[in-house]
């Protein structure tokens, strides 16, 4: 139906695991969050002039179907995430700049050894049923997510580090979380959108209650859900009276609906339709993002067990061409390092560029001239993967490397994690949690260590950073860990995808966010 490749936001089951997995992120800002003010009112987004109150906004969400859920702790598709973000709120927020902000907690502070964390609840926040939000509700919600027997999306890491016996609710407004190991970035785990606080930690599908700027009205899986403005919201109340979230299985239908003024916003606009929307007078919201589709080389298998071959392959890639051709130019350059949104991202390391001569010479040194390798790819990695693989094969010819691209359906089967040379998909995440899940041995938390990277020195640095409360010192440790990966790692990270969303011309108050589409789906700031 579509001739043009388009970024698909459909999630495979494994991608789901990844979106959820260990929460996103290590800390950017200070762990000491005093009530830094929520920015006053909605900023100007679309047009000029003050924002008007009232009205209904219909949001066209990508994906969704019979599996849709309104459970605060198990969202999967973009439609689920949009609903959850407006109905529920976590203790902290990731703001548009991917920094932590106070939400239902006024502060989340660690002890000097990062083993005991004190959560101070916001005064005056209420649930949609009128009850005040207490530390007890927060603790029971965390327990639901981090149940060691069946941890939910945000609870993977939490369930392992929380000492459930020693943690306790001190009073109405104070929760003390005790860990069984020092963990300096617990606050970042508590800021996930998948960790909304619900009364008593109990989710009632028939009557979902949260604290967000919009309260539940109706929900039909795969179709429509409606929400009404919550007048007693603790922050700035929403401009809109009603929010409708409509599922769209098809990108064309979604874009047509926007053009016909049937919906006012949509997430994940296909790149090839950007000009169509702009031409029709609609608005396009572009945000720097952190999604990446790396090539993965197994460092424990020939030919990639020779670091020179790995470096040669990293020099073969023409990164800008990758971005131009597979992301239609809507991306930023990668430097074989992940977590570009982390404040400790090693941006001082020189940008790696295509250097065929150097690559040839490295291959010659490694005795690997005329190398032939098989590159595994598949549609279920995402729409970027197969074109990127084909482009790599093309680029490798210049260095005398013959790459045979093998498209597997499905890619994520029992062979996944054992391919010698393949691709993978990752959403944005800060350095420490990403390093653990992607580069540690499986028994130490590396669930998706595609490259079979096993480097004690690197691991020690990451572990030390996770325990380090001092931010500057932690950044230093993270930088050193990144340098090891930059010099020896098995990942070719050529770029990061930008987030593109669209809105009608009359929509005001939208701001691009690095975290989630459409300014973290915060429709409370939006007016029509």
């Amino acid at each position: 139906m579509n001739q043009n490749p388009r970024p698909s936001f459909e999630l495979s089951r494994r991608q789901l695991l990844r979106y959820s997995g260990i929460g996103v992120a290590a800390v950017a800002g200070s762990s000491f969050l005093t009530a830094c003010g929520e920015d006053g009112g909605g900023g100007g987004g679309g047009g000029g002039g003050p924002q008007a109150s009232g009205g209904t906004l219909i949001h066209g969400a990508t994906g969704g179907g019979a599996k849709d859920t309104i459970d605060p702790h198990q969202p999967v598709t973009a439609a689920d995430i949009a609903r959850v973000c407006n109905l529920y709120e976590p203790l902290l927020f990731w703001n548009n700049n991917y920094e932590l902000e106070a939400a239902l907690a006024e502060s989340v502070e660690p002890s000097a050894d990062a083993k005991t964390w004190t959560v101070t609840m916001r005064q005056g926040a209420t649930f949609h049923n009128g009850q005040p939000v207490t530390a007890e509700d927060a603790w029971l919600s965390i327990r639901r997510v981090a149940d060691p027997k069946a941890p939910l999306s945000a609870g993977g890491q939490l369930s392992q580090i929380i000492d459930f016996e020693s943690s306790k609710v001190v009073d109405e407004a104070t929760l003390q979380i005790v860990l069984n190991t020092p963990y300096a970035i617990l606050d970042s785990l508590l800021a996930e959108y998948t960790l909304g606080i619900i009364p008593g930690g109990e989710f009632d599908p028939a009557n979902p209650v949260g604290t967000g700027a919009f309260a539940y009205e109706s929900f039909e899986a795969g179709k429509t859900s409606t929400f009404t403005k919550y007048a007693d919201y603790w922050g700035d109340a929403a401009f809109l009276d009603e929010l409708v979230i409509q599922d769209f299985a098809d990108d064309n239908a979604k874009v047509n609906a926007l053009q016909a003024n049937q919906i006012q916003t949509l997430d994940n606009l296909p790149y090839n339709l950007i000009d169509t929307i702009k031409g029709a007078g609609g608005g396009v919201l572009e945000a720097q993002g952190g999604q990446w589709t790396p090539f993965t080389m197994r460092v424990d298998q020939a030919p990639f067990n020779d670091v020179r071959v790995r470096q040669a392959f990293r020099l073969i890639v023409d990164r800008q061409a990758m971005i131009d051709q597979t992301l239609s130019g809507y991306g930023s350059l990668g430097n074989d390092l992940y977590a570009p949104l982390d404040t400790a991202y090693a941006s001082d390391l020189p940008q790696r560029e295509q250097d065929i001569d150097q690559a040839k010479s490295l291959l010659a040194q490694a005795g690997a001239e005329g190398l032939q390798v098989e590159l595994f790819t598949g549609d279920d990695i995402g729409s970027v993967a197969v074109p990127a693989a084909n482009l790599f094969a093309e680029q490798a010819k210049a260095a005398g490397v013959e790459v045979k691209v093998t498209k597997k359906t499905p890619f994520y089967d029992d062979d996944y994690l054992s391919y010698t040379f393949a691709q993978d998909f990752w959403n944005t995440r800060n350095y420490i949690p990403q390093a653990v899940v992607g580069t540690f041995p499986p028994e130490q938390g590396g669930t998706y260590n595609e490259t079979h990277w096993d480097n004690q020195e690197h691991r020690d640095l990451v572990n030390a950073a996770a325990k380090e409360v001092d931010e500057a010192r932690r950044a230093e440790l993270i930088r050193d860990a990144q340098e090891i990966e930059y010099n020896e790692g098995g990942l070719i990270i050529w770029g990061f995808r930008n987030q593109i969303d669209a809105h009608a011309s009359n929509v005001q108050g939208l701001e691009p966010s690095k975290y989630l589409p459409l300014g973290n789906y915060k429709f409370s700031k939006v007016s029509v």
């Binding site: 019979a66 429509t224 299985a249 098809d250 064309n252 047509n256």
Partner: protein, 344 residues
Amino acid sequence: MTQVATLPDPLAEVAPPRGRSGGAAWGLWLARRLGLAALTMWLVSVLVFVATAALGDPVRAILGRDYDSNVARRQQLEDQLGVGDSLVSRYLDWLGGLVTGDLGTSLANQQPVWGQISSTVTNTLVLVLLSALVMIPLAFGIAMISAHFRRKRPDTVIQTVLLALAGVPEFVTGILLVALFSTSVFNIFPAVTLVAPGGSPWDEPKGMVLPVATLVLAVTPYVSRIVRATLLEVLDSDYVELARLKGIPEPVVMRRHALLNAIVPGIQVIALQLAWLAGGVVLVETLFAYPGVGKQLVDSVRNHDVPMVQALSMIIAGVYIVVNLVADVLSILLTPRARTAISS
């Protein structure tokens, strides 16, 4: 007009012979057809069940890599699907539920299947019905005009347009209609169907226009071309020639003599087309975000939602069988020779 009455009327003349034997013969024939329909449904149920439940391991397909790690969920799914029981007893359980109207529980969201598909089935049937109401008179009208002007310019133009329409896939027609009437050129009709919670797609009648138009444009060429071809054949026949020689006006010849005899192949092709539409025109439903059977079936297959797939397959098969049965009955009632054959 008086001459008309003297002509043999194909409908009036060969009515089934009255009397005990004729009625009994009709009853017997209908019973046989219904029995055959039931038998077909049963065979379909076996096929559907074998294809969805018995081949492969649905639980493994649903859980994938979690099969070994998530024991609780596996247990729950296996209980729900009755994996431990023998194939025959599972089939009989399922068939029993089907006959008593209990379609089971969806694996994807643990809601009763019927509650989820009843509205989509209705939506699809309404869409098909509306399309049929527009399409049938349109197709016959076009065929009559075309046959009337046979091999003259209007006929050539009509045939070319119909052939072009038949050659374009229905979703392309849909995309063009949307671009023309809702996004790029005019902004008259909604581009997609937005259904308010608890509402129906036809709550906003304007929203039905483009989906119906797309389906009508997709189906009309086939029906129209078949009817035209039959009409031409009939128009060449001796009795039409005779009617003309008797001086009956051409419109009357066309309506009463030709059309009635050309209607039977038309009914058959309409039935096939409608059944095809009822099976869910996934692409059209997707394009207009119309909450119909096709989209739901695709979603269910993707979710490995066995009970939903089974229920939807059975309903689609049921529609095929009913539509074809109705078409057969109509055809026979309209074919004197077949009528006599049955009643004698």
